[in-house]
Symmetry: C3
Subunit: 352 residues, 3 copies
């Protein structure tokens, strides 16, 4: 597929220096882009590479424009955020060359007669859709997915193969749920009686906003009485656990293996590194950034970056340090004793 540079600018913005009639077929990295491709400069350190690029056109930030213009002879698209421009253009090129899933329901799918599936939606093989569920226009439900009673899948939302989306859960528009994700499993709630556990029925839902991505094998539990809420624009990577009654604020992103215990309320625009663990019943304000492998036991009431993991070392060195950590009280006692002794010595000296 050929597209004129001018058309790309109409779609994604930017200031063009060069011929809008130039035709390009794809987007490619700086060092690999050929004469029919467009490339981008996401980082000023790559200016030298940009100068030598064979790309038909380069997308770059205003600050990089003068230096690149001096040597690079192709067309230039100047935009404040070249990486975002690239992301949108790459989505466009991929959409052009990927066969759109055909509307309609695969003959092997089991769709309850009371479910409402829009005619423009795609329902793959072996999908199950239970009574009263709703699949909105343009949604794509790949093979093997399960959609429970009265659940709602929003417009243009895409479930990859083998997603489980339980009864009464709701996801908005343009979402992506990856394979193996389980949305709306029961929260982990029990009363204890005589040493054994009695299940508290989990009757809340999972409510997911628009533009939310959920990674492969990630699990989001339904609320106990109230709902678990994932706000607009949240991005969850793979193998994440979100407990019941959590609220994840808009445009918060979590890397793989993160765990969030029940009833944690997390603000907007937060980020969580891989395997960060968030305790239940705490609050984390907006714009908090938690480093990977960090356990957060208490509320974080101020924005900023937080970290807490034991520094890795050669095993033998770690063993020495681990022993010392275990004996820190002893070391503190020694320091206290020394302080006392030095004070005494000093006093004696003064008296002499």
């Amino acid at each position: 597929m050929m597209i004129r540079l001018g058309e790309l600018l109409e779609r994604f913005g930017g200031q063009l220096t060069g011929d809008p009639g130039i035709e390009v077929t794809a987007i490619a990295p700086l060092d690999r882009a050929g004469a029919s491709e467009i490339s981008f400069l996401s980082n000023s350190k790559l200016r030298a590479l940009a100068a030598q690029s064979q790309a038909a056109a380069l997308v770059l930030a205003p600050a990089d424009e003068p230096e690149v213009a001096a040597t690079y002879t192709g067309a230039r698209v100047v935009t404040p955020n070249p990486y975002a421009w690239f992301a949108r253009a790459a989505q466009f090129f991929v959409a052009q060359r990927t066969p759109a899933p055909e509307p309609g329901v695969h003959p092997t799918a089991a769709v309850h007669h009371s479910a409402r599936v829009d005619a423009s939606a795609h329902i793959g093989a072996h999908v199950t859709i239970e009574a009263g569920a709703r699949v909105e226009p343009g949604a794509v439900i790949d093979a093997g997915c399960y959609i429970g009673r009265e659940a709602v899948v929003g417009e243009d939302t895409h479930f990859f193969a083998n997603v489980t989306f339980h009864a009464r859960c709701v996801i908005g528009a343009r979402g992506i749920v990856h394979s193996g994700a389980v949305i709306g499993g029961d929260g982990f709630g029990f009363a204890v009686d005589g040493g054994s556990y009695i299940k508290i029925p989990q009757t809340g839902r999972v409510l997911i906003g628009d533009d939310v991505d959920i990674g492969s094998n990630t699990t989001v539990d339904r609320g106990a009485l109230d709902d678990t809420v994932i706000e607009d624009g949240v991005k969850l990577d793979n193998l994440i656990q979100i407990g019941h009654n959590c609220r994840i604020g808009a445009h918060t992103a979590m890397a793989g293996c993160v765990g969030v215990a029940g009833s944690a309320h997390i603000g907007k625009h937060c980020t969580f590194g891989g395997a960060a663990m968030i305790n239940g019943h705490i609050e984390i304000v907006d714009n908090v950034h938690v480093t990977a492998a960090t356990m957060v036991p208490n509320s974080l009431t101020e924005p900023g970056r937080y970290t807490g993991y034991f520094p890795v070392a050669r095993n033998a060195e770690w063993e020495r340090n681990a022993v010392l950590v275990r004996n820190l009280s002893t070391m503190r006692e020694k320091v206290r004793a020394l302080e006392k002794a030095v004070k005494a010595l000093d006093a004696q000296r003064q008296n002499e």
Copy 2:
């Protein structure tokens, strides 16, 4: 659905002050319960809230009775464990209003002719049941589940959609297995030969007792030669890994993302916080409680609470502390040198 208070007491016990003929339709939190609902006081701190509750009846503990009775004018159910009473009553109400899955096998299910499925069991769409498997009375196997050869699913046990339950594994009565769980995958066992791995066949089973809950996307591996055993009443949350040949004692509960390496033997009535990691080939006695994000490398031979994670801090502060932890040997040397110096000074002073 209306139910008389008296009937609830017959089912779940308790001492009634008030009219047993009062009809209620649901159970609700203290601050939201209306005149046709019952509520409960699980925590003495909420006594003031209870006094103002609009609920038709309140379930409460003997210790809370006098204070609440002074102000609250509805019916009162006194029971030693109001939260457990609530859990059981809530289960009852949910069961009343949830349509029971119909007995029978969905036409799209692939059930081997030699499998024995009780006529009262429900087998959903796209389920596969292999040769010689057995599904007991009242069991519910939702859409997309896989039940391997000669596996056994006990009475009234519920598999949510897309559970994988492998050959020869056994689960007892009243279990709940959530979506995406994989029971009976091969354990991770290899012999090393010339730098590469040779698989040890995993021929043991997974044996699961009665009243066991297993969370979404949790994995329990089959034993190598002997079996992996999950005893009665165990509750496993989501995304937990149980290695081959583990034994998890009765009424032990684990929160999400916990990992238990192979051949760990864990006692009864233990609890594990989220992402706790248990080494293989160790023993943990009964009534051990491991805090979230704690790594347990060795056996724990005494009951109690155990913890081990690096305290979280502002990133800059953590960096300072991490450097100091890495240099604890140096600090210890300095303390030793100081002790020596102070001793020397003291000795010299004595001699003067």
Copy 3:
């Protein structure tokens, strides 16, 4: 099934002392093996147990031969690596008694007409195979698996039930992918624009070599532009996350719950304990061994064992230590002040 000892030696090597005509039916642990079974001595500490074994034959290392020969009267197979011999023989016995899956496509499977499935392959119930995919001879695809467009499953590779293997991904020969694994989900890549995330299309593949095992519910993401690569002989346990554009070197093994962030390049013959977390964009050389629950933020450029987790303790003790860790700067200041004070005292003493 009976097999002559001589035939086992022809298959798996070893030096026999005893009658090659002895027939055995299975392999069993030292303390349980009966007169028609073969056993093995994998550890010299078990010599005493070996001497009393009822096994028809024992497999053992040359170093153990003299002591065992003195007391044990059955046949002996001497081989440098008895555990590897056992692994191979156990595989053989299991293969003998396990019914081979029948070649052919289950009538409920949905196989696109343009997919090429070898006639010797087994395709189970409710499997979906998309356009242009290829399943090589002897491959076994159990029930509920999904194989995306143009994906390739190599010879004799086995997918257990409910595996998701996305478009254009490739796995070589003799692989094993366990249930719930998701291979080729989108990598976690976004451009940030005005506080919200714009998805970077993930157009790379996952390329998996020969003899690779992937555990239950493990996820391996496809590359962004380039491919994610898992080399020959890699063994991944359950619930592992491998980010986009990672490279895992040949014969590297990872225990359950490990996370590897995007673009990490890991060498050959490495091992990772459970829940080890590897940062993105780092390099780990060959023969690195990372202990369980260890976070690796930076490249590891030398082989060896690395560790980093907070030592577990009784909760009260941990609390004391955690406070001291948080206050290490204060302790360092005190030590510095003491050093200064002692130096001053010493100087004064010299001057007196």
